[in-house]
């Protein structure tokens, strides 16, 4: 029996949006940690607030423990069995300890139990030293810890987190996640969280839902989403930069020949036996940047990669850990990611002729719609 079931949920924005949020069916089971991911403006926060019953849907039903939530008393009861952590820290103008205890006081828990539970969670979240401080005077990272403590102290059946670690420095974010994860695991509470940070999703979630323009486009494990996006929008969202229209023009020993614009041919080898193509199929060819090998031209170049193109580097864009190379390969623009060391050793710079090597198994195909 699912903990939470949503059927035919829809929400029409009053202004500022050109789509309606529409979720035909969603289930959340005990212990599940679901990450809601998607581009900005996809409706993630709205969906989270709708599921948390902080916004009223235009239509749809929400069942908690198989019971539909309708009356005001049922909504209050639902709120008392769940906890919501908003995106922006919100603090009551009182001490940290009172901020953490407020939910327990609302639930009319006895003062002695409140004291024990609050003391325990403050210690677990490493903010016991802030107990007496006014919550409006603490830092952003500390405020995030207080908000999480305020939610976790309630032992909720479902925890709703809206970008819980946004706007934090990397070390602070890592530290808070490290302190929060054991509590989530030990309580077994189901969690739905919205995040833009892919590292967070890998650490925290065991199921992913990609929301684009108010619709769940793909749902599954990390491997299913990031390794096998089902549409062009999902592929673009997860960072696949090379998405090129192509046509299947031939087959040879289980491999398919793709014809890209400008006459380039690529060999594609499906990793899934059931992902066979047919001649004439119009597809989108997705090439992850990290699967492209860039080599300096050499008279003898032997490699296992089935595809080898000649190109010229058009742009070099350094980032923190990698360098992005935009390469013009016979009229097709490809983006490859290489290390800073490779750029240095191979002298990769704008205008340099290079060979672009690509394994047939690295290509992913999506239907052209």
């Amino acid at each position: 029996m699912a903990l939470l079931t949503i059927n035919n949920l829809s929400f029409s924005y009053q202004e500022g949006s050109d789509f309606t949020l529409s979720i035909p069916h969603f289930e959340l089971n005990q212990g599940e940690r679901v990450a809601l991911i998607g581009p900005n403006g996809a409706g993630k926060t709205t969906l989270l607030q709708l599921i948390a019953l902080l916004q009223k849907p235009s239509k749809g039903t929400i069942l908690f423990n198989s019971k539909e939530i309708k009356s005001r008393a049922e909504v209050i009861d639902y709120h008392r069995q769940t906890a919501f952590v908003p995106q922006r820290p919100v603090m009551y103008n009182r001490s940290v300890i009172d901020n953490v205890a407020i939910g327990l006081k609302i639930r009319n828990i006895s003062p002695s139990e409140i004291s024990d539970r609050v003391e325990s969670i403050l210690k677990a979240m490493k903010i016991a030293h802030l107990s007496a401080r006014n919550a409006l005077s603490i830092s952003g990272g500390e405020a995030r810890r207080v908000m999480l403590a305020r939610a976790l102290v309630l032992n909720p059946k479902i925890l709703f987190l809206d970008e819980p670690f946004a706007d934090l420095d990397e070390p602070v974010r890592r530290s808070i996640i490290e302190d929060t994860l054991p509590i989530l695991s030990s309580t077994g509470c189901a969690t739905i969280f919205v995040t833009h940070n892919q590292d967070e999703t890998y650490q925290l979630a065991n199921r992913f839902m990609v929301l684009i323009k108010g619709q769940i486009i793909q749902s599954g494990t990390a491997y299913e989403i990031f390794g096998n996006p089902s549409t062009k929008e999902v592929a673009e969202f997860i960072g696949i930069r090379n998405i090129i229209p192509a046509e299947v023009v031939g087959e040879n020993e289980g491999m398919f020949q793709l014809l890209l614009k400008t006459g380039i041919h690529l060999w594609y080898s499906p990793t899934d036996a059931g992902a066979g193509q047919q001649k004439g199929n119009k597809v989108l060819c997705c090439i992850p940047p990290e699967s492209i090998t860039v080599a300096i031209d050499s008279p003898q170049l032997h490699s296992s990669a089935r595809n080898a193109l000649q190109g010229i580097i058009k742009k070099v864009i350094p980032s923190r850990y990698l360098v992005w190379l935009e390469i013009d390969a016979n009229g097709v623009s490809l983006t490859a990611s290489v290390t800073h060391q490779s750029v240095k050793e191979l002298g990769l710079a704008v205008g340099k002729p290079v060979s672009v090597l690509l394994k047939a198994t690295a290509i992913q195909l999506l239907p052209l719609t």
Partner: protein, 213 residues
């Protein structure tokens, strides 16, 4: 001295009771208006804000017209009584307390309001928490409301009649003494009035500043 004591007591009684009634109505009204979304809200708030500028003498005139023998409420026989003065001063203080409370509530972060709902607060718990968050502004509302009524003379003169030993308050007493050329008496009452105003505001300010700290 005995008369000064009685006049002071009447002032405090009338203005004190008016403040309690106006606060009892104005604070919840301000919270409800501040939190609600409805058509005409801006117009209602504009009306409340306009009420802050109501001339006390006009309020007194209207209340007197309602309460005099030939008026709709004349049967109650309230004109020239402390009750009539309380009615008039409540009407004067109410818009000010309501307007300040609305402003205080609207200053509260909407995220905090949503968080309070998400914690499963009942209606009563919700109002208590929200009022506590707006407490500094509500204290200002009460200070402003008290200031507006303890120092007004027009309304209490109209509906109280400044009857010696009955409905004379500090402000009407000052007016009366001045007309009679008893300037020392008038200044003494003025001093007492200022002292009361200062003490009440000091008490409220200390509470406010303690909360801020």
């Amino acid at each position: 001295m005995n008369e000064l004591f009685n006049i002071t007591k009447t002032s405090l009684q009338v203005s004190g009771i008016s403040l309690v009634i106006a606060g009892g109505i104005g604070i919840p009204a301000g919270v409800i208006i501040g939190l609600s979304a409805f058509r005409g809200k801006k117009w209602l708030i504009a009306l409340v804000n306009t009420g802050m500028g109501l001339p006390p003498v006009l309020v007194g005139l209207v209340v007197a017209m309602l309460l005099w023998r030939s008026g709709p409420l004349g049967f109650m026989g309230l004109l020239y009584s402390k009750t009539a003065m309380v009615i008039a001063q409540t009407i004067i203080a109410l818009p000010m307390i309501t307007a300040f409370t609305i402003a205080g509530i609207q200053k509260i972060d909407p995220g905090l309001i949503r968080q309070t709902v998400s914690l499963g607060a009942t209606r009563l718990q919700f109002f208590r928490i929200i009022i506590q968050e707006a407490r500094l502004t509500i204290l200002v509302a009460l200070m402003a409301g008290f200031g507006s009524i303890i120092s007004e003379v027009g309304a209490v003169m109209m509906v109280g009649g400044n009857i010696r030993g009955e409905t004379t308050v500090l402000t009407t007493g000052i007016l009366q003494s001045t007309r009679m050329g008893l300037f020392n008496e008038a200044l003494l009452m003025g001093g007492v009035l200022l002292a009361i105003s200062f003490v009440v505001n000091l008490a409220l300010t200390l509470i406010q500043q303690k909360r801020i700290n």
